[in-house]
């Protein structure tokens, strides 16, 4: 996201503080991303839809307190969405779900020598299942949502170095287990 885009977004946010209707522009811009993020963590369209609406209601509610902290506005929405989905799983006492799009996984991982097949997918699922949840959260934000480490740190309330550490560890394990070349940009 460019500096100009961030500045433009902040202007809309400031306007929305006094006129909530102005927030509609940001709603339209981020609705799909937040919805997909929630769908990935619930695997249920209705639940994702409800949580998504609640995320934006909460955002509108807390907008007067919003302050720019060096990360795009979307990071703040992701933070609220993360809190909502965590609240949902706490309330329902269920296991947290990560429902990953196969096409995204394919994009993420470039096989160097073998062909991508069902067996590899199953092995990858088992591997991801055994990863600690916080590590998986970082991986999801980094590779499925294209967030940088500063944003991930802000969303998950951890330090930037903590976010990097978790990603490196998870990727190292992935490389060891699968002999894969994982696309990785600093």
């Amino acid at each position: 996201m460019t500096e100009d885009e961030i500045r433009r977004e902040n202007t809309i946010v400031e306007r929305s503080k006094s006129d909530p209707r102005a927030f509609g522009e940001l709603y339209e811009k981020y609705f799909d991303r937040i919805y997909n993020f929630l769908l990935r963590q619930t695997d249920d369209e209705d639940t994702a839809g409800d949580l998504c609406s609640q995320t934006f209601v909460n955002a509108l509610h807390h907008l007067p307190k919003y302050q720019f902290r060096g990360v795009p506005f979307s990071a703040w929405l992701y933070k609220i969405a993360t809190n909502e989905v965590n609240k949902f799983w706490r309330k329902n006492k269920g296991k947290k779900i990560f429902s990953l799009e196969e096409i995204k996984v394919r994009e993420l991982v470039e096989r160097s020598d073998e062909v991508w097949d069902e067996e590899i997918i199953q092995r990858l699922l088992t591997y991801l299942k055994d990863l600690p949840t916080d590590m998986l959260q970082v991986l999801e934000l980094r590779f499925f949502e294209d967030k940088d480490f500063r944003e991930i740190a802000f969303i998950l309330d951890i330090t930037e170095s903590g976010a990097k550490m978790r990603t490196y560890r998870a990727l190292d394990k992935l490389r060891q287990h699968f002999n894969l070349k994982v696309k990785y940009h600093e």
């Binding site: 919805y35 509108l60 779900i97 990560f98 799009e101 990863l131």
Partner: protein, 82 residues
Amino acid sequence: MSNHEIRMRRKMAGRGADRFRNYGDVLQRHERELRLKKILRVFSMVFVIMIVVMLIVIVVRIERRFDKKSNATRSQVDHRFR
């Protein structure tokens, strides 16, 4: 045992999202919650004011009772010395 489950989805999301996209509804919910919050704030303020008033009344009554008692004992003592 891990505390999450991994699933693989063949189809991308996205299309289903349109069913839930409704900013008017979000705005309405926000305004409703805001109104509810205001009402709750007014109620809690009234409640706090009532408690303070009740405390003041109780303290004043206790003080009056003490005053009456001390006046009674003083008059008894005065009466005895006369």
